[in-house]
Each structure stands twice: as C-alpha cells, then as structure tokens.
C-alpha cells in the first residue's frame, strides 16, 4: 500500500510558516514511514503486570491506531497547524486579515461536497421536496441520480465509548435480571414522596432501582437532581468536621477513622483514573460516625472516596453502591471505584468460603485480622440469617430485606452501581 501524501496547498506565506510546513511534512512522512519500527510507541504490555495472555495491548487511544487513519488526519491537519503558526508570527497578509470575502482559506470542493454543503445549509431537503423541485426546474424530468436526505447526523458524542473497556469486549450474554416485584416497586415509589424522601432516601431508592434492574450505568451529578447542592454541602460539612486521621471510638474500644488521606498511596495513573488533579487530595472516608449519620451519609455511602482540592473543597465523591448482603463490586484496585462497568461477586454473607464476624458483628473473610472468635459461618441461604432485615417500619431495613431476598431467592440478582459524582 502506498502512503504518499497528497498535501494541500498552504494559503499562508512567510519564512516561519514555510519552515514549519517543511518540518510538518517531514515529521508526518517520518511517522508514516516508521510506523512499524515505532511499534514500541504503539503497543505495550499491561501496566498492571498481568501477562494479558501473552498479547500486547495498544498504548494509543482507540482512534489513533491505524496508519491509514493517521495519514489522513496528518494530511488535513496541516492547514490549521500552519495557520496557527501564521497567527503567531503576526505579520500581515492572508491569515491575519479577516475581512469578509478575504478569507485566508478557500477549500476546494468536489461536486459531491458542494451538494452536501448545500444540503447542510438547511434547505428543505425531504426526498419529495427535492424531487419536486428538480422536476420543476428541469422541465418535469426526473433527477438523474437518487435523491434523498443525507444530512450530517454529526454523531452523538454522549453515546461514545472507550472500546478498550473490558466489559464491552466480553462475550458473555447479559445476565438474567427478573423484573422487580410489586413490593419492590412500591418501596421504590414510596421513597420518592416528600417526607419519606428525606435523608437522601429518594437517592438511595434510585440507586437501589438500578441495582435491582441490573443497570450499572454510572450514577452522576445529573442523577442527583435538586439534591446535588445538599449532598455536596453535607460532604463538605463532614470533611470540615474532622481532621485527618481523626477517629471515633465506642465504649468497647471499636473505632472508625472518619477520613484518611490516601493520595500518596496511589500512582499517577490511578489518580488520573479517579479524576484527581495533581494538587487534589484523595480521602478514604467512613460515614459510620456521628457526623456521617447526622448528615444521612452512612446509609447512602457507608464508606466512600472523597476528592478535594488542596484547600479542602469537595470536588468529587466516588463509590460503588453494593451490599455485603447482596452483590459487591469486583474491582482490580481502589482506583477503579466508581468507574463504569464494575464486575461483581457475592457479598461477604454469601462468600462460598464462609465468613467470620468482627467486633461490630460485621461479616469479614475467614481468617481476617479483625475476626473475633473462631466461629466460621457458612454462606447464608435463608433470609432470616441476615441481621436487621425484618423491620417493616424502617426503610433502610426494607432495603436490606429486598436486597437479601433478591440474592437468595432471585438467583443472585443485583448489580453494583458505580457512583461518580463530580460537583464541579
């Protein structure tokens, strides 16, 4: 295959532009000629150290991996790149004078492009109108080529995806996700009614609805609706309320750490994945304390990762909405929290290996350092074996009952929901 460039005419002049254009063409040709030899720039092995089944992976983003594609983009990119240089030079001549009709760049158009350009100007362009117009203007003759609307659809970037996302690449068919029953729908609806919707119950109901609908779309700021400011303020109050590493202990000496700065434990790639800037601070938080409970954050998040700027302003909160008495997300590491398409695995109560209890009565893996006593409990198979799930008057426990019931009686139903709320 030939990779000869078809360079456009450059309508700008000047020593700097000419030097730049020469350098541009030289580098572009070098990129295309050396594409195969530069494969170490284009392919690598996974950064996480896995062998990826012995296969290399692409280091370049998805749109830029094909030599032919890069060649075309390089060809068409020259004009604008040269124009920027022309503007920086700042001398007179085409490229600096913007009088109407004295445009610096007059792109040559093919007949097809002219046709498409006219269409794109918004003329009445239904098939019927076009055929009628053609006949009227041509003595009643039919058009010599098929006529039909072929306007730009312009794509829709909001639907775009990263094709390297593993979930997209999996061959497994979607898992069975039975419809919610009447009781579940009633509860979810109830939580949206004022009075019942306080304390973020409406938000929790939305999340639970997704969890039960096996909808793992990322829950974002837009999903918060009018509660966005309230939640941000609540998180800000929580963060302002505690100092780094501050703990709260009960009479039995069991403690929670409200916020822990984990920024330095993360690599740059991990921070980038989490949406943190170079000076931002990443906090592991636990809302199981007085302020967290007062602010209604403990049953919404339990624990979460909060990102602040260097001044302590809350920028983002990320979490996975999942349940130890249902399904929990299965992530490669903490930096994937809140990212799209989480894997899932049984919550601790349903671990095939069984579980032990810590000092607070929470399930932990067998042999975990916080396990108290030697009792190993088998995986739960009966709803009654899940604690705190039968109080018909407590919405939180109705939720637990629903989640546990779905897991036990619904063939493990329940999809963790990523939460990634950017308050900026």
């Amino acid at each position: 295959m030939s990779y000869n460039f078809d360079w456009p005419e450059i309508p700008f002049t000047g020593a700097e532009v000419e030097a730049f254009v020469d350098a541009y063409k030289g580098l572009a040709e070098s990129i295309i000629d050396e594409w195969d030899n530069d494969s170490y720039h284009i392919y690598s092995f996974p950064v996480d150290g896995s062998d990826n089944n012995g296969e290399t992976i692409s280091t370049l983003k998805a749109p830029f991996r094909k030599r032919e594609t890069i060649k075309i983009l390089l060809e068409y990119g020259l004009i604008y790149a040269a124009f920027i240089v022309k503007q920086r030079v700042g001398n007179s001549g085409p490229g600096t004078d913007f009088n109407l009709g004295n445009s610096p760049y007059t792109p040559p158009l093919t007949d097809d492009e002219k046709t498409n350009l006219i269409k794109s100007l918004g003329c009445i362009f239904t098939k019927e109108e076009m055929e009628d117009a053609y006949r009227k203007n041509n003595g009643g003759k039919p058009a010599p080529f098929p006529i039909g609307p072929e306007l730009f659809d312009n794509g829709n970037p909001s639907d775009d995806v990263d094709p390297d996302n593993q979930q997209l690449r999996d061959d497994d068919p979607p898992e069975n996700c039975p419809d919610k029953n009447a009781r579940e729908n009633f509860y979810l609806g109830l939580a949206n009614i004022p009075v019942f919707s306080s304390c973020y119950r409406d938000i929790k109901a939305k999340l639970l609805d997704r969890y039960l609908s096996c909808n793992s779309n990322v829950f974002t700021k837009n999903d918060l609706g009018s509660k966005s400011d309230s939640l941000k303020n609540g998180l800000q109050e929580f963060m302002d309320n505690y100092s780094e590493g501050q703990k709260q202990c009960n009479l039995r000496g069991q403690c929670v750490t409200h916020k822990t700065n984990i920024t330095n434990s993360l690599t740059l790639a991990q921070k980038t994945r989490m949406g943190a800037g170079p000076t931002d601070i990443i906090w592991q938080t636990s809302f199981y304390g007085s302020a967290g409970q007062r602010l209604c954050l403990h049953t919404l998040f339990g624990t979460a990762i909060v990102i602040t700027n260097s001044s302590g302003t809350v920028l983002r909160v990320i979490d996975d909405f999942d349940f130890v008495y249902g399904n929990v997300s299965d992530r490669p590491d903490i930096s994937y929290t809140g990212q799209a398409n989480p894997g899932k695995k049984p919550g601790q109560y349903f671990d095939p290996a069984g579980y032990q209890l810590d000092g607070d009565g929470n399930p932990v893996p067998v042999g975990h350092p916080t396990a108290v006593g030697a009792t190993v409990y088998p995986p739960v198979t009966n709803l009654n074996d899940l604690p705190n799930n039968q109080n018909a008057w407590d919405p939180t426990e109705i939720g637990r009952n629903i989640v546990g019931s779905n897991y036990i009686n619904g063939n493990g139903k329940g999809q963790p929901v990523p939460i990634n709320i950017n308050f900026e």
Partner: protein
C-alpha cells in the same frame, strides 16, 4: 471517503454548530448573489488542553470489537466507503463530530512535536531528531496509563506561568468577573490566557476550577489590568469579597486562531 467526512476534514462544521459558531462573530454566514457563498470558522474545541479524545461511537465500537477479534487488529476508525443501505450511518460510522475531534488531536500532537520549548506562542521549529519528535506525537495520543510524564506534552503543558490574587468576584448569566489586587499581569498582547481559580471559603468556592477536569484551566477574557472574565456556570452572584489565589495558564489561543473559511 464519505463526502461529509471530507467536508469535516476541511473544517466545515455545518450542522455541528459548535459553540464558537453559535457564538457567531462577523464572518460566519451565507450570502446568495451571483453564486452561493458560505463563510465558516474553525477553531480548536478545547483551546486550553491537549488531552486526546479516545472514544468511539458505541455502535461502531461494539461492531469493531467483534471484527477486530476475528481479524486480530485494533482499528476503530475507517474511512472506507460504506456499502449503501445496510451500513449507512451504522457500524462503520465515525461521526463527523468525532472526526473533528480526532483531527484536532492529531493537529495538536504535531504542533507539540514540532515547535520549540513547550510549543506555546512560539513559531520556532524545535531541534531534535525525528524519533524524539515522533515520541512526543505518540505521547500526546496515548492512553493515560501509558503517558510519559518526562517529555512533552505532559511534562510541562499545564504548568502555571504566574499567580494572581482575586479580591472580589461576581457572576452574571454564567460569566464570572474577577477583580485582582494587584494587577493580574495578563497582557492583552495575547488572547491565550487561562485560569485555575482556587478561592477559599463559602460561596467563593463555587467559582473554583477543578484541575481534574481542566488541568490547564479555562480560558479567560481580559477586561483590564485588574479584571478578567471566564465562563462559570452557577447562580447570579453579586460582587463578593474573596480570598485565595488563581493560577495563570497559557493555552492555544482565542479568536486569533479562528480560521476563517470561504466556500463558494
């Protein structure tokens, strides 16, 4: 290649109507005299940053994942002619908006690779081997986890060029007006200034700019030696005394890099 693709590559954004065309400035329009003339403007959609757009429209991505598994390739952008009918605006579609993004990313990668220093404001072609320049080109277009932060652009693109001290701020119709004391130091000789606001408390924090989403800040418009404006979504806010700082950045440029096009 589809006609709409070639028009896009010639920077015609007709139906796309990006913000810079919607915010129409003189020189954009259509005139019908003895012939049809169309004026359009092209500019970078992101005038501050250099991060490449890595996504593909979902239907095309899923189709190509399947094809790539069979063919052992990793390609997602194809300019091949689509068969009429079945695949029209379908499985091989790039999308004109997306194509404009890709073109911008490659254009920026070339400017970064070729121009001297951090490639800002200069017209000087940098020294260095082709291999070194190609490394910068690839580095601009690679995934986050493979970025080499020891070379351009990631080594210095988002570096601040100064700091100023906002003393009051207001917001009206999603435009923030900032007053600084002393003067902010951004000269009107350039229109490529950007800012990262970092105000301290209360409502002032709603004006802040996150470097996680805008690592090189947001563009500003200089009003005078002590005042500048930037787009900032939020409730209208009367002039409020504030404390904090603002990092000053430099990007690609504002109206000076509006490429005026003339189709006829």
């Amino acid at each position: 290649m589809k006609t709409s693709y070639s028009l896009t590559l010639k920077h015609f954004n007709g139906g796309v109507s990006p913000d810079f065309i919607q915010d129409s400035i003189p020189g954009v329009g259509v005139s019908i005299g003895s012939s049809l003339s169309v004026y359009d403007i092209h500019q970078f959609r992101d005038v501050m940053d250099v991060h490449a757009y890595g996504k593909i429209n979902s239907k095309t991505a899923k189709y190509n994942i399947l094809i790539n598994k069979l063919s052992g390739t990793e390609d997602y952008v194809h300019f091949d002619e689509e068969p009429v009918g079945i695949l029209t605006r379908g499985y091989l579609d790039i999308g004109e908006t997306q194509l404009a993004y890709y073109l911008e990313d490659v254009t920026k990668a070339m400017l970064l690779a070729i121009l001297d220093g951090n490639s800002k404001r200069t017209t000087t072609v940098g020294i260095g081997t082709s291999a070194t320049k190609r490394a910068i080109f690839y580095n601009t277009l690679c995934k986050d986890e493979f970025k080499d932060h020891t070379i351009k652009p990631w080594i210095d693109w988002s570096n601040s060029v100064g700091v100023c001290t906002p003393t009051s701020i207001s917001r009206n119709n999603n435009v923030a007006i900032v007053t600084t004391t002393p003067a902010h130091g951004m000269t009107t000789a350039y229109d490529d200034w950007g800012i990262v606001m970092n105000l301290n408390t209360g409502i002032a924090t709603s004006f802040n700019i996150s470097t996680s989403t805008h690592p090189n800040g947001v563009p500003v418009k200089i009003i005078d030696a002590n005042t500048f404006a930037y787009k900032n979504t939020g409730i209208n806010t009367s002039t409020t005394i504030v404390t904090g700082t603002a990092d000053i950045k430099v990007g690609w440029g504002g109206t000076s890099i509006n490429l005026h096009l003339y189709f006829t």
